[in-house]
Amino acid sequence: MAFAIEFFLRRLSQGLLIVLLVAFVIFTLLRVAPGDPIRIILGPMATATAMEETAQKLGLRDPIPVQFGRFVLDVAQGDFGRSFIRGKQGGASGGSQDGAMDMADRAPVMGLIATALPYTLLLAGLGLVFSFLIAVPIGLAAGLNAGRWQQKLGLYVSSLFVSLPNIWVGVVLIYLLSAKSGLLPAIGYRNFAYAIIPAIVVAVEMSPVLIRAIAVSIASNVQEAYFDIGQVRGIGRNRMIYRHVLRNAAVPLLNVFGAQMIGMLLGGLFVVEYIFSFPGIGLLTINAVFQRDFPIIQAVAILASAVLVLINILVDFASTTIDRRLKF
């Protein structure tokens, strides 16, 4: 118990520091990048005085550390600022007025993210479920049968999946499952069925890593002395696999999951949501990038880094709970 408290106190405080650092870098980069945000807010027709007035009002002329401090205080209260472009009612409203603008009718970033998040979570969850459905049986069979056809199958499947670009997989699946046969809907989102094809694309991208990680960690544990000795001690082979090999294999798997898969998942979601016009965080962000809607970009980047840090803390905690030799 003491260990758990100490672990989380230490790791969460480290994590907070990392996220703050990432936030500061992103915040600074976006402000020194070319392109005056006031121009984006007010549109190309705004006068110089109107622009200066808005800039003063938004505090954009203060030194960056001061702006960052203000930003962090706001974020601590759950306020990520407002979109430069998107109106409260939805749709872009940038540049429609002349004269000093009123930020109050722009949509709060937090609200935009909150609306998009459930879609992304659904897609990510379903994608993970699919990739586990593909990878667990193939990886397990490959790991337990080193040197036999199951191992080759695992190798072939994962090499095949790795070599398929996800855009191509997306297009082919849309063509086969949606356009040609009408089995599943594909573009946009109206109900659960809309998530299935995108989730398959996500799964195809993720499963090779998973297949390999499972196969390798299972195979190396089967070679450990305890596996053979356990059977000589009188414990059945299947029980050794289910109770001991899987447990030990979980530690490297968790690490692959935290270090590699979550990053891949985040990246993959952006592309897939864009291909399928799936209204999640990825689509929101990509549109924001095209429109230079900095508040959204920075909020998503900071939240993504926080999610990564948090998941890695949980993964490490799970690892130390399974294998008490590990120290963090």
Binding site: A2, I5, Y226, R233, G234, I235, H244, R247, N248, R325
Partner: protein
Amino acid sequence: MAAEPLVRVDNLSVTLAGRGGQGGTRPVLSDISFDVAPRSVLGIIGESGSGKTVLSNALVNWVQAPLNIASGHIFYGGRDLLALPETEMAKLRGREIAYIGANPTVALDPTVPVGRQIVEKLMEVEPGIARAAARRRVIETLDAVRIPSAGRRFDEYPFQFSGGMMQRAMIVDALVSNPKLLVADNITQPLDVTVAAQIIRLLRDLQNDFETAVVFISSALGVVSDIADDVLVINAGRIVERQPAGALTRAPEHAYTRALIEKVPRLWTGAQTPAASHAADVVLEVRDVERTYVVPDRTTLFGENRVRAVRGVSFDVRRGESFGLIGESGCGKSTLSRLLSSIEPPDKGAIRVGGQDIAGLRGKPLLEMRRRFQLLLQDPYNAIAAHASIGRTIEEPLRIHGLASGAALKARVRDVMAEVGLPADLYDSLPVGLSAGQRQRVNIARALALEPSLMILDETLSALDQVEQARLLALFETLQQKHGITYLYISHDLAMVRRVCARIGVMYLGRIVELADNAAIFENPRHPYTRALLSSVLTVEPKPFLPETYLLEGEPPDPIHIPQGCSFRSRCPFAFDRCAREDPALVFDGAGAAAACHLADGQLPQAAPLIAAGGHPIPPAN
């Protein structure tokens, strides 16, 4: 022996298939036949490579490709184990026939508490038993093998157990289901002598209580003749002799057995010892060196434990001398070797080489010091890169130190290769296929290429068999005479230390408790711990210090909780009240010997007259 044998092995032959299934097969065991009587202990002795481990695996019908049972039967309870279907065999394994291997630390799942895994096994082989009852029985058996506070230990993980504790746990695991036959394959090999002696005694007692027949396989004759009723000698896959244990050491019949007995190193009768050299100057001066590690404590918030690995060690090593450091595992030997080879600095104290403190060295002088000071470790496998040729591997240190290049470099490498006995044609080959001994020679050549003045040999020879070990020791001696190299041996192998080290320090819990010349340490040791170490050696010769008087119980306390007063107090058979109050200092007498004990010279028991182990006087070796 009128009773029906429990096991009858009949003409067993095992072969090893060549690579890739072709290339023919090689016999590993040929025509092995023997009986095991119920409730008896059968010892099987053989050198490494004699096929004894394969035999132990065959007894539990666990022979796997590329090994193959070519012919023969193993009858148990009227059935031939080798003909049983795997499902039937699986029912016998662990229940009626138990097995303990040589390496207890890898025998269990590292992520599950030890006790729970034993319960798991018990419930698997005795399906009717309730979990609570199984747990009770496991804790009782853990108690029976004298694991302290068994209830708490039950929930600890394998990595929290020392090798000896783990081997006890494996004995519990084997005996908890009351098997009729226990196959013990080299179970004392990785253990310290003190612990090995305890394990042997324990197994003997338990074997009586549990009425189990034991097949005890080992390469150490001393160990086997100590525990077994009958001993079977096996050489190159064949049985050469079978005799009762006492008779075997007294009157071996087969030439191979005689050679085997001959090879067992002697510590007392006719021991070879090196001469002490007091004249030469001091090369290495170690003064009050201390090292403490801080490790996190999982049970308290932000808690830390201080592991006091080395607690004030001082000694001198003279030029051209061989100095030995001995002690059980965990006594601080390895930490000290790291400090001496400046892999890490001591917290306190000074290590002076040729009068200069190595702690303050940086840059060039440090490199120069490292050149003169070479460390050779136990494991010859990890130290050599697999992808570089042997010549390159030996060149590398010369390049790093910029001592030679081009043709001179090559010539130098060939010279040292010849010196350590590596054939010159190995220069361009990769290290795959080298034996452990040859690998160790590559390491020695690497070190020697730098013309070091001091070599630290940290368990360097422990992984090698006796023949190879003897060859390398002879090599070290020649090198010493030729180049005047000083050696610091760090080892738990008392026989080796007896043979090569002129001066010896005995370490216990991070301190030197006795420091004296070879003869004084082995013939008239003044510290109870030294005597305990000597009493636990399992040899074939009479011992001056008998286990009845000195044998230690348990293991050293962990270096986090060191007892007040004399740190050996918790295990010392002679501790008295002053020991609890006062920490004895290492006091030198006139002859340059020192012991840290409150007892004065005459207060320890007399050394026993030399009587053979097992009570039989042995004939003089000739």
